[in-house]
C-alpha cells in the first residue's frame, strides 16, 4: 500500500505548499496568446502539442501529473493500489463528480473511456495503455484494471491526456458513421470534467474556455477551482507580434518567446519572463548504418567518429549562440526532468584533443565530409548548424548543411535518407519509456530512423516495461542510458526550458515539464 501513501503525501505536500501562498483573486478573464491554434479537441484522436498541451484543462484524468511533472497525484480517482503480483490495478473513484453539463461521472463512463483510449484502432496513443488486458467496473466507486503483465508505466499513463474521462452517453449520441467522425463532431463542442469547459472557437483566431462550475478540486481559498471565469486563447503565429501584443497590454500572457528576446523581456518591469523547466532536448539525429541511402559508405557508422564529433562540439558555445544562455548541456539522451534520467554531469564535455585523437584512431582523413538536414527558415536550427559547422572544421570535418521544409525533411527522415538531422523531443508522459522506445529501442522506429541497434538495450527495455520495482527499473534504465551515451547514436546538444512571458498581474499559471498548460490555479490580480 505504499503507493496510496505516496499519492496522499504528494497531495498533502501540494495542499501544504498552496496554504503558504498569498491570497488569490477570483473571477475575470485571462487572455493568452498562442503561437498556433488547436486542431482537434479529442483526447484520443488528437495528434499535436497544440491540442495535448491544453486538453487537460477541458478533460480531467483519473490521476494527474504533479506540478513538477515527475509523479502523479489524485484526479478523478482519489488513489490507487496494485496487487502483490502486479497484475491488478485498482482505482477508487472520487464520489459526486460531474461533467461540465452537470451529469454525473459514473464508473461506466470511466470503463468506456479507458476502453476507447486503449483500442489500438483508435489512432496512435493506445500504446500508453497497452498493458491493460480488461477494465472491470467493481461497483460505483471502483475500477479494476486487469493487466497483461505488471506495468510500471500505468500510473503515469492514467495521468496522461489520452486516458481522460469522457461522457459515454453524450459521445455515443454524437452523429458520425465512424469512430473518427464521431470524435471530430464531439470535439467541435467537447464536454469533459476538467476545470474549464469549452465555450466558443473561431478556428485560427480565438478559443474561449469558461469556468466549469462542477469541478471538484478546491482552491487555496477553500472554494472550488478554477479561480478564473474564463481563458481566452488568441492565435498569433508571428513571434514579434505576439510580444508586441503583450507589451501593449492586449494579452495577459504569450507562449514561445524566442530565446533572442528573453533577456529583453526579463528587464521589462511590467512582465514576468518565466522559463518553465521542460523535458525538451535538442540534438542531431545520426544515421549509423554502414551505407547511406545513396549507396555511399557512412563514416558515422563508427562509434569512435560519433564520439569524436560529440567531443568537438562546444555545448556551452552552442547554448550561448542559440538559446542566449537559457539552455543547459544534455546529461543523457532524455532530459534531466524525465524520471530515471542518469545525471553524471554533461555528456561529452568539449575536448578538441580527445576528438582529434579519436578521429585519427578511426582513420578519418582531413577534409572528410558529413551532411545534416536543417529546417529552412528556422533561426535556431540555422544557428545550431553554423556553430557546429565551425567547430567541426577545427577537427578537419566538413559539415554540409541541407535546408529543407518540414514535410520534405520528415519524408526523408522516415525513409532513412539522411546522414544527420537537427531534432528536438518533448516527453508526453511522465515516464522514461516513451523517449527510450523511440531513441534506443530498435523495433519501434529503428532508433529515430538512425538504424542504431543494441540487442542488450532492446532486452533491457522490454524487461523494464514489466518491472514494477522502482529501484530495479531505475538500474535497467541506468544501463540503457550508459550504453547509449557510450555509443553516441546522436550528437548531444542541450536541454531548453519553455519561455512564457506574463503580465506581472498574472499569477499561478503552470506549465509542467511535459508542456501541459495548467490554468486551474491561475488568476489575474486586480
Amino acid at each position: 500500500m505504499t503507493r496510496w501513501l505516496r499519492v496522499l503525501l504528494a497531495f498533502g505536500l501540494l495542499v501544504g505548499l498552496a496554504g503558504t501562498a498569498e491570497a488569490v483573486t477570483r473571477g475575470g478573464t485571462l487572455t493568452y496568446a498562442r503561437y498556433a491554434d488547436s486542431l482537434l479537441l479529442d483526447p484520443v484522436f488528437n495528434d499535436a502539442n497544440v491540442d495535448i498541451w491544453i486538453l487537460t484543462n477541458l478533460y480531467d484524468t483519473l490521476l494527474q501529473p504533479t506540478a513538477d511533472g515527475k509523479d502523479v497525484q489524485p484526479g478523478l480517482a482519489t488513489g490507487y493500489s496494485v496487487s502483490d503480483d502486479g497484475m491488478t490495478f485498482t482505482l477508487k473513484l472520487r464520489q459526486g463528480t460531474k461533467f461540465s453539463d452537470g451529469s454525473p461521472i459514473t464508473a461506466d463512463d470511466v470503463k468506456w473511456s479507458l476502453d476507447r483510449a486503449r483500442n489500438p484502432e483508435n489512432h496512435i496513443w493506445g500504446f500508453t495503455l497497452e498493458g491493460i488486458d480488461s477494465v472491470e467496473v467493481g461497483g460505483s466507486d471502483t475500477i479494476i484494471l486487469h493487466l497483461k503483465h505488471p506495468d510500471p508505466t500505468l500510473a503515469s499513463a492514467l495521468a496522461t491526456f489520452n486516458s481522460a474521462i469522457m461522457p459515454q452517453k453524450l459521445y455515443e449520441a454524437t452523429p458520425g458513421a465512424t469512430e473518427e467522425e464521431k470524435a471530430k463532431a464531439f470535439a467541435e463542442h467537447p464536454i469533459g470534467s476538467g476545470p474549464f469547459m469549452f465555450d466558443s472557437w473561431q478556428r485560427g483566431t480565438e478559443m474561449v474556455i469558461k469556468r466549469n462550475p462542477y469541478y471538484w478540486q478546491m482552491g487555496e481559498d477553500g472554494k472550488p477551482l478554477p479561480y478564473l471565469d474564463e481563458v481566452r486563447f488568441v492565435v498569433i503565429p508571428d513571434d514579434a507580434t505576439r510580444i508586441l501584443k503583450l507589451q501593449a497590454g492586449e494579452v495577459d500572457g504569450a507562449e514561445f518567446i524566442p530565446y533572442t528576446r528573453v533577456a529583453e523581456l526579463k528587464n521589462d518591469p511590467n512582465l514576468d519572463m518565466i522559463l518553465f523547466p521542460s523535458t525538451r532536448v535538442q540534438y542531431l539525429t545520426v544515421n549509423v548504418r554502414p551505407t547511406l541511402k545513396d549507396g555511399k559508405p557512412n563514416v558515422l557508422a563508427d562509434p569512435k567518429v560519433r564520439q569524436a564529433l560529440n567531443y568537438a562540439i562546444d555545448k556551452k558555445a552552442v547554448i550561448k549562440v542559440v538559446t542566449h544562455d537559457v539552455g543547459k548541456p544534455m546529461v543523457s539522451f532524455m532530459s534531466s526532468a524525465t524520471p530515471m534520467a542518469v545525471n553524471n554531469g554533461p555528456v561529452y564535455p568539449y575536448d578538441l584533443e580527445k576528438a582529434k585523437a579519436l578521429l585519427k584512431e578511426a582513420g578519418v582523413a582531413e577534409g572528410t565530409e558529413v551532411s545534416c538536414m536543417g529546417l529552412a527558415g528556422n533561426a535556431d536550427e540555422t544557428a545550431i548548424l553554423s556553430t557546429v559547422q565551425a567547430m567541426w572544421a577545427q577537427v578537419g570535418v566538413k559539415l554540409n548543411v541541407e535546408y529543407l521544409d518540414n514535410a520534405t525533411r520528415t519524408a526523408r527522415y522516415r525513409a532513412a535518407d539522411f546522414q544527420m538531422r537537427v531534432a528536438a523531443w518533448t516527453d508526453d508522459i511522465a515516464d522514461p519509456s516513451e523517449i527510450t522506445s523511440y531513441f534506443a529501442y530498435f523495433p519501434n522506429i529503428e532508433s529515430l530512423h538512425g538504424g542504431w541497434e543494441d540487442k542488450k538495450v532492446d532486452a533491457l527495455f522490454e524487461a523494464s516495461q514489466k518491472e514494477v520495482d522502482k529501484t530495479k527499473r531505475a538500474e535497467m534504465y541506468k544501463e540503457i542510458q550508459q550504453t547509449y551515451i557510450e555509443s553516441a547514436p546522436i550528437m548531444f546538444l542541450y536541454e531548453s526550458p519553455y519561455p512564457v512571458a506574463l503580465r506581472k498581474q498574472v499569477k499561478g499559471l503552470n506549465k509542467i515539464p511535459l508542456g501541459n498548460n495548467i490554468f486551474s490555479g491561475a488568476y489575474v490580480e486586480k
Binding site: 508571428d238 507589451q247 501593449a248 521544409d405 518540414n406 514535410a407 527522415y413
Partner: protein
C-alpha cells in the same frame, strides 16, 4: 462592350480553372513529404503512417485520386482539411471575407494615397515637392512588407497605442480600426507603383496639345486636370492596378501572418507547410477565380474610362 463579351470572358475562366485544378492537384502531390508528417509528427511509426495514408486515400494512384476529387468537386464538395478536420469550403467561406476586406481596404488606401500625390508631383514636376514625394514612395516600395508591418506595429500600436496590435474586430467599425495598419502596410508598396506610373502618364498628357487647347479655352486649372488630364492618364494605371491585385493577394499572405489576421493567406501558408492537399487545392482555385474576375473587371473599367478601348 457588350454583354456577350462578359459572357465569353466568364466562359474562358472555366478551362483556365480546370487547368489550374489539374496542375495544382498533381503539383502538391509531387512535393516531397505528405500530410501524415504534419498529422503524426516526426516520430510516428511506419505502420501509423501507412494507416493514415490509407484512411486519406493517399495510397492510390494520382489519376484515381483526381477522379475522386473531381467527382466530389462536381457535387460542390472540396473535401475536408486533413489538419483542421473541417470541410474546406467552410474554412474558405469563413476566412475569405477577411482577406477580401483587407485587400479591398488596401487597394482603396493605395488609390487614395497615389492619385493626389501623383497629380501634385506631376504638376510640380522637378521641384522639391516632386522629389520629396517620389523619395517617400520609393522608401515604401523598397522595404519588405513584413518589415513595414513590424515598424508600423511597434510605433503606432505598441508604443503610441493608436491602433490595436493585430487581430480582427467583431463589427464593421472595429474591422476598419483593426485592419487599418495591415491595409496601410499592404497599400504602401502598391501605392508607390501606382504613383510612379500615374505621375509619368500625367506628365505625358500635360504636354499634349488638347491640354494646351483646354487651357487656352480658359478652363480653370482644376477642371483641366480633373476632366482632361487625369481621365486620360488613368488608363494605363488602371491596367497596372488590376495586374497588381494578384500581387496584393500575395502580400496579404505575409501581412496576415504579421498582424495575426485569420484570412486565407495565413491558411494557405499553414496548409502548404502541413501538405494539407484539400485546403491548398480549394484555396488556389478560389484565388484563381478571384484574380480572373479582377482582370475582367479591370478590362471593363478601362473601357469605361477610355471609349477607344473596345471589346469585341
Amino acid at each position: 462592350m457588350s454583354l456577350n463579351y462578359v459572357v465569353i470572358r466568364l466562359a474562358q475562366i472555366v478551362p483556365t480553372f480546370f487547368l489550374i485544378m489539374v496542375v495544382i492537384f498533381v503539383l502538391v502531390r509531387l512535393l516531397p513529404g505528405d500530410p501524415t508528417s504534419a498529422i503524426l509528427g516526426i516520430h510516428a511509426s511506419n505502420e501509423a503512417v501507412a494507416r493514415i495514408n490509407a484512411e486519406l486515400g493517399l495510397d492510390r494512384s494520382i489519376p484515381v485520386q483526381f477522379g475522386l476529387f473531381f467527382e466530389h468537386f462536381l457535387r460542390g464538395d472540396f473535401g475536408d482539411s486533413i489538419n483542421l478536420k473541417v470541410p474546406v469550403m467552410s474554412l474558405v467561406l469563413e476566412r475569405l471575407p477577411v482577406t477580401l476586406f483587407l485587400t479591398v481596404f488596401a487597394a482603396l488606401l493605395a488609390v487614395v494615397l497615389a492619385v493626389p500625390m501623383a497629380l501634385l508631383a506631376a504638376v510640380r514636376r522637378d521641384t522639391l515637392v516632386d522629389n520629396g514625394i517620389r523619395a517617400g514612395f520609393q522608401v515604401g516600395l523598397s522595404m519588405p512588407v513584413f518589415y513595414i508591418g513590424i515598424v508600423l506595429l511597434t510605433f503606432l500600436a505598441a508604443k503610441l497605442r493608436w491602433f490595436p496590435v493585430g487581430g480582427f474586430g467583431h463589427s464593421f467599425g472595429e474591422d476598419i480600426y483593426h485592419l487599418f495598419l495591415p491595409a496601410l502596410t499592404l497599400a504602401l508598396s502598391l501605392s508607390a507603383v501606382l504613383m510612379r506610373n500615374l505621375r509619368s502618364s500625367i506628365i505625358d498628357v500635360l504636354d499634349a496639345e488638347y491640354v494646351d487647347f483646354a487651357r487656352a479655352k480658359g478652363l480653370r486649372n482644376r477642371l483641366v486636370l480633373g476632366r482632361h488630364v487625369l481621365r486620360n492618364a488613368l488608363t494605363s494605371t488602371v491596367a497596372l492596378f488590376g495586374l497588381n491585385i494578384g500581387t496584393l493577394f500575395g502580400g496579404a499572405v505575409i501581412t496576415e501572418s504579421v498582424f495575426a489576421i485569420p484570412g486565407i493567406g495565413r491558411l494557405l501558408i499553414d496548409s502548404i507547410y502541413g501538405r494539407d492537399y484539400p485546403v491548398i487545392q480549394g484555396l488556389t482555385l478560389v484565388l484563381a477565380v478571384l484574380v480572373s474576375l479582377v482582370f475582367l473587371a479591370t478590362d471593363l473599367v478601362q473601357a469605361w474610362i477610355d471609349p477607344r478601348v473596345s471589346h469585341r
